[in-house]
């Protein structure tokens, strides 16, 4: 469990997070979304005990203890956004160090290295690793203990397709055994695949707290249907506007904003009018547009 209660963090004049109240319940996977500089990393680091609240409290574990109490951190594992290790150590030495520091069974070290697909290169110094390999090593370290709470800051940012596949596999297994996952991401795909709920931070403030369904609906409403047409009758736009008032022409393309549910009637109407559909694309709403809308709502 993580409980932020009126958590505020200021760095000098700059307010990184303001008055955040949020609970992540045991067994839940919550994605923390938001544009760059919205306070996601600070929020996550506060739960990892790395950042002290300017005001408010951050409790972790069951029962909740202040995250800055080092003993409370026995219940969590944290993966930083840009992880780094001493370059002269080998991957195995890094994993062994953290394994011993956490008092984890030796068998976990091999499992973690296998999971990160580093078992073949674990004897090499970290200085010879690529960026993706370093990130995977960080993931291996974060997943070493079976902590009830995982804090992951952009865990998929540097993963290749194989790494992503392994990562999703582990996360789904961890979720299945009831571990709590609180993570940040810029990729809607990651968030939708893993999260039960979405907390959206904009300019340091909690702008929305949504379920998977609610987020999908909100994004879908910001979707666009694009139809490239031939032989369209002159009154087609007027008729389409009865279904979607913001429809417009762009060259030979009919652009129809709106949710996925409204697209089939538009296509049917276009066909009824005798127009030939040469091409069709549909886009779901994008997170950045959604953030802009939320920013507007906050002001």
């Amino acid at each position: 469990m993580i409980a932020y209660a009126r958590f505020t963090k200021r760095f000098g004049e700059r307010t990184a997070v303001e008055d955040l109240t949020l609970r992540v319940e045991p067994g839940e996977a919550v994605a923390l979304l938001g544009p760059n500089g919205s306070g996601k990393t600070t929020t996550l680091k506060a739960a990892a005990g790395l950042v002290q609240p300017t005001s408010g409290t951050v409790l972790v574990g069951m029962p909740g203890r202040p995250a800055c109490d080092y003993q409370a951190r026995a219940s969590l594992s944290f993966l930083p956004q840009r992880v780094a290790f001493p370059e002269s150590l080998t991957g195995r030495e890094v994993v062994e160090f953290y394994r011993r520091l956490r008092g984890v069974d030796p068998s976990h070290a091999d499992a973690a290295l296998r999971l990160a697909a580093l078992n073949g290169s674990s004897g090499r110094p970290v200085g010879t690793y690529s960026g993706g390999m370093v990130q995977r090593l960080g993931l291996a370290v974060a997943l070493l203990p079976s902590s009830p709470l995982l804090l992951l800051d952009e865990p998929t940012a540097a993963l290749d397709p194989d790494g992503l596949c392994a990562f999703y596999g582990v996360m789904e297994r961890r979720k299945a055994v009831g571990q709590t996952i609180f993570f940040t991401s810029h990729h809607l795909g990651d968030a939708e695949r893993l999260a039960d709920r979405f907390a959206i931070l904009v300019e340091g403030r909690l702008a929305a707290l949504l379920t998977t369904r609610e987020l999908a609906d909100r994004l879908s409403a910001k979707g666009v249907l694009r139809l490239r047409l031939a032989s369209a009758p002159d009154d087609l736009l007027e008729r389409v506007r009865l279904l979607s008032s913001r429809a417009t022409w762009s060259g030979d393309e009919l652009i129809v904003p709106g949710s996925a549910a409204g697209r089939a009637p538009v296509i049917d109407l276009v066909r009824e009018c005798g127009a030939t559909i040469l091409g069709l694309t549909a886009e779901e709403g994008r997170l950045d547009t959604f953030y802009r809308e939320l920013t507007g709502g906050l002001r």
Partner: protein
């Protein structure tokens, strides 16, 4: 050997890192080469018939220790302890008290630097004692103890320097570390003696006593010269301290007390700063 306490683990890891570090290896090689050079020059100056005399050679080694050891501890300590964002975030998110991690790292660095110095002392000791027999073994061991004391003091200062400063940038911390070394090992004496020369005898004497005790390099110099050569090699400041203390025993006590404070206080301040820092 398997170590399990967080303190021992961090110390062992830092020792491994320091031993593999090019900078540590370079410092060890330079210190060894200079120490052998000083020892061999004592032999050459004697006309090849033996070390000229132990005290004179050891006094040259004292000067070498006072210059190189603080620089080694400050530079390597600051490099190792300056926060590296990605590594620090992972390390300090573990369920271990921040100051335990700091003590462990300082212990590991201390062990690595003592090992690096041991190479130089061992090689120069071989040169000296192969010529002089057993004369001066105790003084030589005290010289090594003085070097260890300076290492502890300046590692403690390095911990404070590494954690200080807006943004805690490595380059800024390193510039501060080098300035601290220059001020303590070179500039301080010139300023203290210059200021004393402008004062009346009594005030100058008091200033010099404070100056010796306040600067760990001067304090250790006084202690080492006392161990190696007695009071004959003392400068004005060391003599003033000796007179103030009323004898070598009390002077050594004051020096040891000063060294203990210089080791403990900066490390405690660094730990306190680390406990409160946002990482």
């Amino acid at each position: 050997m398997t170590v399990s306490s967080p303190l021992a683990l961090c110390a062992a890891q830092e020792l491994t890192l320091a031993v593999r570090s090019r900078a540590t290896q370079t410092f060890a090689a330079v210190f060894a080469a200079l120490a052998i050079g000083v020892a061999a020059s004592g032999y050459i100056l004697s006309g090849g018939s033996g070390v000229q005399d132990f005290a004179r050679t050891a006094t040259s080694l004292v000067q070498l220790v006072l210059l190189i050891v603080p620089l080694m501890a400050l530079v390597l300590g600051t490099t190792a302890l300056s926060p590296d964002r990605g590594a620090s975030e992972l390390l300090f998110s573990q369920p271990v008290a921040r100051r335990t991690l700091l003590w462990g790292r300082l212990l590991g660095l201390f062990a690595a630097l003592i090992a690096a110095q041991a190479l130089g002392f061992g090689a120069s000791g071989l040169v000296i004692f192969s010529q002089s027999g057993g004369e001066g073994v105790t003084a030589f061991l005290l010289l090594m103890t003085g070097a260890a004391t300076l290492t502890a003091i300046f590692l403690s200062v390095a911990a404070l320097v590494a954690g200080a400063g807006e943004g805690r940038r490595r380059s800024r911390a390193m510039a501060t570390a080098i300035f601290v070394w220059f001020a303590a090992a070179v500039l301080y004496d010139v300023v203290a003696l210059g200021a004393a020369s402008m004062l009346r005898s009594g005030a100058a004497s008091r200033l010099l006593i404070v100056a010796v005790l306040a600067n760990p390099v001067d304090a250790v110099r006084t202690g080492l010269l006392l161990a190696v050569q007695g009071t004959t090699a003392f400068g004005a400041a060391s003599l003033a301290l000796l007179r103030f203390a009323g004898g070598p025993g009390r002077a050594v006590f004051l020096i040891l007390a000063g060294a203990a404070l210089w080791t403990i206080v900066p490390a405690l301040l660094a730990a306190r700063r680390l406990d409160r820092a946002d990482i």
